[in-house]
Amino acid sequence: MISVISSEWYKLRKSKVLLLLLVAPLVGLFIGMSSSLGDIGAINPWYEKLVMMNFTYAVLFLPLISGVLASVICRYEHQKGGWKQLLALPVTRGKVFLSKYVLLLLLIFVMQLLYLVSIYLVGMIGGITEPFPMDIVWKTIVGGWMATFPLIALQLWVSIAFKSFAAPFAINVIFTLPTILVINSERFGPYYPWGQPFLMMNIGGSAEDFFFVPWDQILMVVGGSFLLFFIGGYLYFQRKAI
């Protein structure tokens, strides 16, 4: 299993894909620097920045870019019969699917860490003197990461299914755009998987919950949709004619 993951890693290591991860902090810097909410009555200037940056980042950027990454790590196999070569090796299809998924998780985690750095930089450039609220920030970083689990499972599924980048991206867009409206709704917001990255990164959410949303919502919506998409993709890949 480890060897399958490391072979996936070798395919990526020297490619320009790692530059893709740098887009996240740049976008973070852009959102953080370009706007100011004015006084929203936050107790601390860091909170103001966090509310503002996490919104655009989690609603649009994170779901969209994680879909792009999913397509990227299937690219080698789609070119020139790579699936045939890969699956002719003594590996099971399940292991290939799982290791691609694990690698995606790691990439997105790294991206989240880089985004964390960009939050810090925005604050430094903006001359915020209060101590960095690490106890809140790490929760948004990890929470946002966990919320992408189901999304990348679906994106991996459709990326394996389609050769082109455009088709998985189109599906991603169709689900991601409505998020802007859905998260406003008290009733439907908590049940929309694409809204979870925002809800779990929204420090304005309910403060008594650990990840700003109730645990049963995480388990039910994130966990449930993760199982659905992951098992769906897994079974699809088992049966796919390559």
Partner: protein
């Protein structure tokens, strides 16, 4: 000479779901407002005296995003049709100029986007009528908010088509597109010279048609730049 090329490009996108996207885009934009108005119609009616205008402004929060994303998808799709089977070589080996190959791609995508704008107009108008937004239907504004974003987005089309045709790895244009969407979404914060701001139809002068004119001008410019670059480039 250009018409057979355009025909062949239309043939290539047949039954690939592109026409479906052309329908989903405008329908999605209006459907989101159907949900919005369905859930909190009374609240939204109180926001502004001119209910039609407020409705159109609501529509226009999603139109730029849908157009920019649509452009990203269509351009990347057009070029991956050729990439997948290594068809660029065969295509330029035909007795057609590289310039017309590029022009044909641009034309086909513009046609699809324009058709989307027509559909957007029809959907917005149709749903607006059922909402009971008042007797005075602002036809001119309706046309503005349906068609001007398309013209204002032409520079984005020029840029994305350029990047998509010259990139072997479609991750590059798609990532650029994602960044573009973030820009389009943050339009009110951007300076007026950024092309991603234009589809939102807001500017310091307060006239929406300026964005469309700028869009056409810079769209042609970026198209020409892309075409010249494509012509000089070696096809691998």
């Amino acid at each position: 000479m250009i018409f057979p090329l355009i025909q062949s490009d239309f043939l290539k996108i047949k039954r690939k779901g592109m026409w479906l996207l052309c329908l989903i885009g405008p329908f999605g934009v209006v459907a989101l407002q159907m949900v919005n108005y369905g859930v909190r119609k009374d609240y939204l009616f109180e926001q502004m005296d001119d209910r039609w205008l407020y409705y159109l402004l609501n529509i226009n929060t999603f139109t730029p995003l849908a157009i920019v994303l649509g452009i990203v998808i269509l351009t990347s799709f057009m070029s991956s049709i050729e990439d997948e089977t290594n068809a660029w070589k065969q295509l330029v080996a035909l007795p057609v100029s590289k310039r017309s190959v590029y022009l044909s791609k641009f034309t086909v995508i513009s046609c699809i986007l324009f058709l989307s704008s027509v559909l957007l107009f029809l959907f917005v108008f149709g749903y607006g009528l059922t909402l009971g937004l008042g007797e005075d239907i602002p036809y001119l504004r309706l046309m503005e908010y349906s068609f001007l974003p398309f013209f204002a987005a032409l520079p984005v089309l020029g840029l994305q088509l350029w990047v998509a045709t010259i990139s072997k790895n479609q991750a590059i244009p798609v990532t650029l597109g994602v960044i573009g969407v973030i820009f389009a979404y943050s339009a009110p914060l951007l300076p007026d010279w950024m092309i991603w701001k234009w589809p939102a139809l807001s500017n310091d002068w307060g006239h929406a048609y300026i964005n469309a004119l700028l869009g056409i001008g810079f769209g042609v410019l970026l198209y020409l730049l892309g075409m010249v670059d494509f012509k000089r480039r070696d096809v691998k």
